[in-house]
């Protein structure tokens, strides 16, 4: 890869002037966001401000919601407008993985959980699957813990392990972008810490966009932070800059916890 150093690589996810509606109510308005490759970008903001909605736009999970649609602007992933007619949703979602707030492993074996994505994309070879499962579990720092119990039901794992298993499952298809919607909100502090450590590892190979309601977490893990308020993107900057030196009044009062 010759062009890694300079000039700055093109953003892997780019949202341009996007408006988004649930039926007739506007959820997002005029969003502009450029996500750099191999970086962790955090989305913060009060509950209901549209963080999840924005995240779910990027892999078009909102298509499932009746009446939900992008009404203006566009979203580009790897330079391609994801709403183009020739975009195959299954391919998009294979390359833009997602981890949900409530970890929900399927009540299948650990192995089957991790192999799920590959299987749905038609991989049948046992060798390739074994390989993918091992690699994903190693990435999620689960391999050492679980390698002897791959054929056990995933529901027998602890909450933190389940969430890391979900991460492994999402990265087993080797996506470029990993979307995480409050991945730690249901976990205890120690499990949270483990996932935060994991995220730094993940950022070496994936571009991570994480929604969090925990500002400390954003500081700890992210390179960039976007602050949303009532469906608008108020400020987007490097995390250090945004937290130490917010440019917008709104951001400042949110960070200080003095919302009016």
């Amino acid at each position: 890869m010759p062009a890694l150093q300079s000039p700055p690589p093109p953003p892997v996810v780019q949202v341009r002037e996007m408006d988004f509606c649930y039926g007739s109510s506007i959820a997002l308005e005029g969003i502009n966001l450029a996500v750099e490759r191999y970086r962790i970008t955090a989305l913060i903001g009060a509950s209901g401000c549209g963080k999840s909605t924005l995240l779910r736009c990027i892999n078009r999970m909102n298509d499932r919601v009746p009446g939900a649609r992008v009404t203006k602007g566009e979203i580009l992933v790897k330079g391609k407008n994801i709403h183009d007619d020739d975009v195959d949703l299954t391919q998009l979602r294979k390359q833009v993985g997602m981890v949900f707030q409530k970890s929900s492993p399927f009540p299948k074996t650990i192995y089957e959980n991790v192999a799920y994505g590959q299987r749905t994309h038609g991989v049948k070879s046992k060798d390739i699957l074994d390989d993918a499962v091992e690699r994903a579990l190693r990435h999620a720092a689960l391999w050492e813990e679980l390698k002897d119990r791959l054929d056990q039901n995933a529901l027998g794992l602890s909450g933190g392990q389940q969430q890391r298993l979900c991460i492994a499952r999402a990265i087993a298809t080797r996506p470029d972008v990993l979307l995480m919607d409050e991945p730690c909100s249901a976990l205890d502090p120690i499990a949270t810490l483990k996932i935060e450590e994991l995220m730094h590892q993940l950022a070496r190979e994936f571009t991570v966009i994480i929604v969090t309601h925990n500002m400390q977490q954003a500081v700890r893990v992210s390179d960039y932070t976007a602050f949303l308020h009532l469906g608008k993107l108020v400020e987007f900057a490097e995390t250090d800059a945004l937290f130490s030196n917010p440019r917008q009044k709104l951001t400042e009062s949110y960070l200080r916890g003095t919302f009016s």
Binding site: M61, R64, M98, G117, T120
Partner: protein, 394 residues
Amino acid sequence: MTPNPTAVGNPFAGAKNQQERRERITRWLLRLVTFFIVAVTLGILALIAIKGSPVVFRSQWPFVNTKFLTELPSTLHVIEDVKGNKQEVEVGHADEVKAGLGDNFHSETTISYSGGGILGPIVGTALLVLVSISVALFLGVSCAIYLSEYAKHGKFLELVRLAILNLAGVPSVVFGLFGLGAFVLTAPVFTHMPMDRSILIIPLGFTTLSFEGWDTCVLSGGFTLAFVILPVIITASEQCLQAVPQGFRETSMALGATRWQTIRYSVLPFAMPGILTSSILGIARAAGETAPIMFTAALAFKDKLPWQKALPPLPADASIFAHWEQSVSRLLGVFTESVQALPYHIYTIAAKIPQNEYSERAQYGSVFVFLVLVATLAATSIWLRRRLRAKYRW
């Protein structure tokens, strides 16, 4: 007794005794009604068990009356000699016994359907249940998948639900008449239309799929019964599908699975135990219905099992393929035969023949066996549900 607050310093004095009495009476009334219902149910069960079990069980090895369970129903002959000794004889041996008695012969009574056993009805009911549950599961689960996973919420869906609900309220005799009209009378006409090739004949390689040979038969009855239990299966299946967490669908789709893949691999497998469990209750219902099969499948009496149909004998030098073909057509032929069925058999011997001690014996025996079969199914269903509920908890 009027309360007097100033009397002895009891501020809570009231019509306590009277209220308590009223409470007690109410409670006892409700309790009595409940006990009465339980007593009636137990009474019926006990009567059937007491009168039926002697017919089915024996005090010596093998402890069950194998004859009753493995023979076809037949006419019972009871021959009485001059001394008043009665002797029960099967059809074939009546003349023999009469000749043996010679001058001692006094009288002979014949009781239809009450001799032999009830294998015919058991086999017939099993076949009907097999066909109906297969058809109902296929149609019902497909429909439930559509309603739960694909259909858009709205007026149309409500209408469909209403229609299904109404289907559940249709009297079963109406289903019987529907089956008679659709499967017994109309369907074969279509396949026999004087056309080069009817569209309703689907070639399957070694044989063809058509309404050919449908008449009063297992297929007609099974399909009719399928429609009777369809509402139950659809409703239960839809509930089971809805019980699978939405998160499974989201996760699966987010991993790039198509909608069908999602249903196939992360919804259906987790709904299936529940669907199968509730369909066992559908089986019990299908096994018990009489009206839908009266015109479509069941005969009051039949002296052959469905696979004992006479087929033209093969020539001595017939190839192995011809033998194989005949076996296949014999097997498939089972479904185009009319059969006896337990509920209809019970109806026949209870209401269609003169009653006496012998017919009563056959009745209680049949009812007992029937009840045991249905109770076993229901128990299996409950047991399965317990087990699966423990296994699939998310």
